[in-house]
């Protein structure tokens, strides 16, 4: 913001937090995204309390009330064995969010550390890490995930392992490029002349400069991980029935299209809702931090 430089003589004592909040609160996509993500997380946490038929999560059968359309009793209707779809969607959301959380909690730290090391040290460290990353990136993601899921027994844990095994590469790339740019800054050279340890330079000097990009990337990724998890379940390689999963529900409901449309369309809308929320949040954060490198 070069045009503001004229004001710089009287340094602004507006706190960083205030400036960020100001920009955030005036960014519709960030605000809507945050609202959606918060709603999803709260519903997931309090699922047993807010759902009308928590027992419908398991293998309950109630053939008298199968294929009922949405109504006051069953907000999203019932499925082919008479379970409340709303209840199952809320619990499915819980599983999707858990999947995103676990995958990102493993992939982000791994990718970040590898990216920092490759970017800062260069030379053979960079060659080894980044070429390995390139190879991992060259494998078509879904194929790899399907292969892992097919070799191991298809369940939640397997899909998490499979997705996380590929996901770190994107973070490694991102952090690598930021580190390369940061490494040549004067303040890194200053820290070196001051005798700071490598650990200090990597994690105290460079890493804080990656945080905003990481936040944007991670938020965008959460939406994608949920989509991929649902895709796997849809293909029968992810979460197995009767555990409610959004992808599984779309798949089993698809058999009854178009007459009982709510059985696949409404869980599908839930997937759309949650991944849209994370994407809007990510885009909003990107505008707010003015990060360019991401994607």
């Amino acid at each position: 913001m070069a045009h503001l430089s004229e004001l710089a003589a009287e340094p602004q004592r507006l706190s960083n937090a205030y400036q960020n909040w100001y920009r955030f609160s005036r960014n519709p996509s960030a605000v809507i995204g945050t609202a959606i993500v918060i709603i999803c997380i709260l519903t997931a946490i309090f699922a047993p309390l807010i759902t009308p038929y928590p027992e419908h999560v398991g293998a309950v059968v109630n053939f008298r009330e199968r294929h009922l359309p949405p109504s006051a009793d069953y907000w999203f209707g019932t499925d082919n064995v008479g379970r409340d779809i709303f209840t199952r969607v809320v619990f499915g959301m819980r599983i999707s969010l858990l999947l995103a959380l676990v995958v990102l909690a493993t992939a982000v730290p791994v990718g970040t550390v590898l990216g920092l090391l490759a970017g800062y040290y260069g030379g053979w460290v960079e060659i080894v890490i980044m070429r390995f990353t390139d190879i991992a990136l060259a494998i078509p993601g879904l194929v790899m995930v399907m292969a892992v899921a097919a070799v191991l027994s298809p369940d939640l844990l397997t899909s998490m392992i499979a997705i996380a095994a590929l996901w770190w590469t994107w973070h490694a790339r991102l952090i690598y490029s930021i580190t390369r740019q940061t490494r040549v800054q004067d303040y890194i050279e200053a820290a070196e002349t001051l005798g700071a340890s490598k650990f200090h330079i990597l994690f105290r000097e460079i890493l804080p400069n990656c945080v905003s990009a990481l936040a944007v990337k991670t938020s965008l990724d959460a939406g994608f991980v949920i989509l991929i998890g649902s895709t796997l379940s849809f293909l029968g390689l992810g979460i197995q029935p009767p555990t409610p999963d959004l992808g599984t529900m779309v798949a089993s409901g698809a058999a009854f299209l178009p007459s009982y449309w709510w059985e696949s369309v409404l869980p599908g809308c839930a997937i759309l809702f949650v991944s849209l929320g994370f994407n809007l949040l990510g885009d909003g954060l990107r505008d707010m931090f003015d990060v360019e490198d991401v994607r």
Binding site: P11, D186, Y187, E192, T193, L194, G195, A196, H200
Partner: protein, 293 residues
């Protein structure tokens, strides 16, 4: 005889020139047989333009890049053996040109200043006290410790950078154009502070700059660098009043001045298409394949 704080003897640095396919095709002599020494408590000025090698010399003294040949003695000890070691870092510190980029934007003032304290194993309990002490030395209130660089003016940032450099109590401070990014009134205050600190702490300065007017007022001795070689050295007043080398005369003639007295002491030589090529013109000639000048 008192041993000088810094002695630079026959210092050379060349960088390899490679073809696009990585084949070695020659070398560029960035620094060519440079020798000078600075006595305790003195200010030595290195004057030069881009391509003069002044920054390369600073980097070699800081142990950031090894010399091709020649010696650098700090307090009589060759840094060839200790370059980059904690002992070396405790003797010499540097203040960078641009305070905007030499402070990490994501770290507070106290976090920046404690880097060298941490590296030197000062107990955590003593650090806060030391930060206050250092801020006081550079005439900043202790409350600034929790501020971030974007909340400081350019002059204040440079004061923080000076405090950080002083944290390990070095003997020699390398100043790489420390005020060129600052307003002139702020520059005056920073230079005044440096003069004071030098006196109080018995500091020795290596002052690198292209600003001859500033050098005249700050450095006792000066060396004029032209394309990697020292072309003229001596007491600042003598060199400025009686420049011997053509390049020194060109430099002096180019300084924009604010008074008639200064104008009177500037050499009168044609600036455009004069006989003495500027560093930039000579570099362009060399690049065009002119070889050695």
């Amino acid at each position: 005889m008192i041993r000088p704080v810094l002695e630079v003897i026959d210092l050379c640095k060349s960088f390899p020139v490679r073809s696009p396919f990585g084949r070695l095709t020659g070398e560029v002599k960035a620094v060519n047989n440079v020798s000078f020494s600075i006595g305790r408590g003195k200010v030595y000025g290195l004057a030069g333009e881009s391509g003069s090698g002044k920054s390369t010399i600073a980097r070699m003294i800081m142990g950031l890049t090894p010399p091709t040949s020649g010696d650098i003695l700090l307090d009589g000890e060759d840094i060839g053996s200790t370059g980059g070691s904690p002992a070396h870092r405790r003797k010499v510190q540097m203040v960078f040109q641009n305070p905007g980029s030499s402070l990490n934007p994501r770290r507070s003032v106290s976090q920046s200043i404690t880097v060298p304290l941490h590296a030197n194993g000062l107990p955590r309990a003593d650090r806060a006290r030391r930060v206050t002490e250092l801020l006081d030395m550079v005439q900043l209130p202790a409350s600034y410790a929790e501020r971030y660089p974007h909340e400081l003016s350019g002059g204040q940032k440079q004061r923080v950078a000076i405090a950080r450099a002083l944290a390990v109590a070095p003997k020699l401070l390398v100043l790489d154009e420390p005020t060129s990014a600052l307003d002139v009134s702020v520059q005056a205050k920073v230079i005044d502070l440096l003069v004071d600190l030098g006196r109080q702490l018995d500091l020795t300065f290596l002052f690198i700059s292209h600003d001859l007017s500033l050098m005249r007022n700050f450095a006792e001795k000066v060396g004029v660098l032209y394309l990697g070689s020292l072309v003229e050295t001596g007491r600042t007043s003598v060199v400025f009043e009686n420049p011997r080398h053509d390049y020194t005369r060109l430099l002096l003639a180019s300084v924009p001045v604010v008074s008639a007295e200064e104008e009177a002491m500037r050499p009168r030589i044609p600036l455009i298409d004069g006989e003495i090529p500027t560093a930039e013109q000579l570099l362009a000639l060399r690049k065009a394949g002119g070889g050695e000048a």
